[in-house]
């Protein structure tokens, strides 16, 4: 018979084992192979970049959580994802001070301002990236080649730029590496401005220039699939993004395959894969309803391709995700599920 007074709780008295910190930790684990590949590809600079953004993001989160009296929110691990993902979307030679600005702005403006985890309206990492893209457009479109010799012993010259100063131009450094002419350009830029389409296989496996963590579509796909399999993320969003992108690209490619990229190329270049699996799938920024998730995903995929093909920018994943984040509340409220037994769907447009 009970020694202590018995307890009373409300039902249900059972609970699934999944919790927020576990979800977030799984995502971090899934990101580690991608980080490792990035470091293997770009060397010391990529390592420093990842460490910087993660550290600054965590520090910012800690600071704001303290200021707003929320206690320690680092334990939910979400900000670690933000930090790592931010680094993975930046060019490998991006000056560290700018990366720090991105991480700070991303967490402060993208998350803390609205109350922290769960209340941010847009993807925190991408808010940071969009901010520095608008602030330092030259630095963020300066690409360096992968597999540069000596990458594990020395950093890319622009990495260690003094705070608030302009990065040194890396053109001479790249020339000094004596790689072939296009190695510093990303496949997307080659395609857009020169109509040269590098082989998809090369793009797929990551033997190319690009942001620190977006180059190997294959690895990202595997890590993403693992998360989807573990039911950490909803597979619908990434699949919808990829389908939306491929289906939008298809007609243009069929019309003029010399000027427009193939659906395969569209899928496996730029940030699309990373964006689809790790950023569009961010739970907080996506709609809660299942049909909403599909609409949201297709919207991101289609918009990315439209920006790539017709916009002034070479890559549109980031903006597509941010815009979709902004539209997510509307999508959610327009796709409220049909309640069991509801005779006619009482949909409220406004």
């Amino acid at each position: 018979m009970p020694a202590k007074p018995i307890e009373i709780r409300t039902s249900p008295h059972l609970k699934r084992a999944m919790s927020v910190d576990r979800i977030m930790r799984s995502v971090v684990i899934a990101l580690l192979p991608i980080c490792a590949f990035s470091i293997y590809q770009f060397g010391l600079s990529a390592l420093l970049l990842i460490l910087t953004t993660t550290a600054v993001a965590m520090a910012t989160e800690w600071l704001f959580a303290r200021l707003s009296g929320q206690g320690n929110t680092l334990t939910d691990w979400s900000v670690v994802i933000t930090g790592i993902l931010l680094a993975l979307t930046l060019p490998p030679g991006f000056p560290l001070w700018m990366a720090a600005v991105a991480a700070f702005v991303g967490v402060a403006l993208g998350k803390a301002l609205f109350g922290g985890l769960g209340f941010n309206v847009m993807n925190a990492a991408l808010v940071g990236r969009a901010f520095v893209q608008a602030a330092f457009p030259v630095a963020i479109t300066t690409w360096t080649p992968a597999f540069a010799p000596g990458r594990f012993t020395e950093v890319i010259p622009s990495t260690l730029t003094m705070p608030f100063m302009q990065p040194v131009p890396v053109a001479d450094w790249i020339a000094g590496l004596q790689l072939d002419a296009w190695s510093g350009a990303t496949p997307l830029a080659l395609q857009k401005f020169q109509q040269i389409e590098p082989p998809v296989t090369e793009v797929f496996t990551g033997m190319i220039a690009g942001s620190a963590g977006e180059t190997s579509a294959l690895l990202i796909l595997l890590c993403g699939l693992w998360l989807a399999f573990k039911r950490v993320l909803d597979w619908r969003i990434p699949v919808a993004v990829m389908a939306g992108a491929a289906l939008t690209a298809l007609p243009f490619w069929l019309l003029d395959s010399s000027a427009n990229p193939s659906p395969g190329f569209v899928l496996f270049t730029g940030g699309l894969m990373l964006g689809a699996w790790f950023m569009a799938s961010d739970l907080v920024g996506s709609p809660v309803t299942v049909s909403g998730m599909v609409i949201y995903g297709v919207f991101i995929g289609a918009l990315t391709v439209i920006i790539r093909l017709f916009g002034g920018l070479v890559e549109g994943v980031m903006y597509a995700i941010l815009l979709a984040n902004a539209a997510a509340p509307l999508i959610s409220s327009w796709t409220q599920p049909k309640v069991y037994g509801a005779v006619k769907q009482s949909r409220k447009v406004k």
Partner: protein
């Protein structure tokens, strides 16, 4: 640039150079009535309507003033005509459809002092748009205004239930949200024109 295609005019006004998020026109109502989706929708409709009306009116006035060589009176005439047109519409709605007035009409006076309307009239004159182009431009601007307003309203309704810290409550948060939206809209840059 009379040759600009209607499609390009529309995209430009609605998205690329969105009146609110890129050109900073109509910020006051944008901040003021974007708290609820429903009011935002009504405000958007009302603005769109007034934009079309005043675009047509402005085109006519401009023609008249040019004929009379009185271009220097353009500003005064535009604003006077727009203001009275709005007031007339408002009274009309209030008198004949109190229900519509409650949902739409209360925004009409707000629109009078909305620079987006006057800006539209001035821009279409400066760009020397034809009548049809002007209307398309007005429609684009209206759609863009509605888009910005609805996105903002969606976000603000979501944040209404959020644990927003005291410091960022109110106008500060709205401005930051608008900044984020404006940042995201930069992705549309160059859209509608040909590249490369």
């Amino acid at each position: 640039m009379q040759a600009e295609s209607l499609y390009s005019i529309f995209l430009n006004a609605a998205i690329v150079n969105n009146f609110v998020l890129a050109l900073f026109l109509g910020i006051c109502p944008f901040l003021g009535v974007s708290a609820k989706k429903e009011t935002a929708w009504n405000m958007g409709l009302a603005t769109m309507f007034v934009m079309l009306v005043s675009s047509a009116a402005a085109y006519g006035i401009n023609w008249l003033l040019t004929e009379l060589e009185l271009e220097f009176l353009r500003l005064i005439c535009y604003i006077a005509v727009i203001a009275s047109a709005v007031q007339l519409v408002e009274m009309f709605v209030k008198r004949f459809s109190p229900a519509l007035f409650r949902s739409l009409g209360i925004f009409l006076p707000l629109i009078t002092t909305n620079c987006a309307i006057l800006g539209l009239a001035l821009f279409q004159t400066a760009k020397e748009y034809s009548f049809v182009q002007s209307l398309v431009y007005a429609l684009g601007a209206g759609v863009g205004f509605m888009l910005a307003l609805m996105l903002m309203a969606g976000l603000r309704e979501k944040l209404e239930l959020a644990r927003v810290p005291d410091v960022s409550q109110g106008a500060a948060m709205s401005l930051m949200l608008a900044g984020l939206l404006s940042l995201a809209f930069m992705g549309f840059a160059g859209l509608g024109g040909s590249v490369g």
